[in-house]
Amino acid sequence: MRYLTERKRAEGKGASGTGTEHHWYMTVSAAGLAVMIPTFLVVFGRALGSSQDDVLAVFARPFPAILTALVLVVGLQHFRRGAEAMIEDYVRGLNRKLAIIFVITFTYFLMATGIYALARMAL
């Protein structure tokens, strides 16, 4: 028997093994998104509803392309962790694992698709 006290078990990175990583990531990405989202809404909102040529012209410019790429990557990583936390709260056992795997792979699929579309318009 090892003489571990309750405190000793919780020390270091704690029971999760990842410490405050999740919380800190959400804090950092939230701060980044808070800066980017208002401008992104203007860029995307103006592009939406215009002709294809206008859409191509917008995302061929560096600022809208880089901003949209950043919002997609950071936003989807932020989503992934939030959705994962929700699944961990409400789903158990095998379904939990399957749901988390689905969220992570689907998030990467969306990221790759978005970046591909942006690259094709920007380059």
């Binding site: 028997m1 078990r9 939406l48 294809q52 989503f79 959705a83 929700m86 969306l110 579309a117 318009m121």
Partner: protein
């Protein structure tokens, strides 16, 4: 293997016992809006992909994105993103250890709800 003591922990009152309060409703709305935003993101990325692909594909997807269904999704997403935005700022404020007394927390809750509607209407008119 440390020997784990099973402790009888007290069960705190939970969702089915508490009546909804502004703080709990504004908290769960943060989760709902954040997760629901994936619908708007999927439609937006599909639309970007179509624009990058061909005029025919763009015409097809743009018809969906600008239909009543697209309007519903994007307008809903717009409110969801503004609500989640304000609620997120509130989280950062709480994390700094500020605004945690009930009166301030409830005021910030109303701020998120009213503010998100105002910002949604402003965005719809200005953009």
């Amino acid at each position: 293997m440390p020997d784990v003591k099973q402790v009888e922990r007290p069960l705190s009152p939970h969702l089915q016992i508490y009546r909804p309060q502004l703080t709990s409703v504004s908290s769960i709305l943060t989760r709902i809006t954040g997760n629901a935003l994936i619908v708007g993101v999927v439609l937006a990325i599909w639309w970007l992909l179509a624009a990058a692909t061909s005029p025919e594909y763009f015409a097809r997807v743009d018809a969906v994105a600008t239909s009543w269904f697209g309007d519903l999704v994007f307008t809903g997403s717009l409110w969801a993103i503004w609500y989640h935005y304000l609620a997120g700022l509130r989280h950062l404020f709480f994390d700094a250890g500020k605004g945690l007394d009930i009166a301030t927390a409830e005021m910030l809750g109303w701020g998120c709800i009213i503010g998100s509607v105002v910002l949604t209407v402003l965005t719809l008119f200005l953009v």
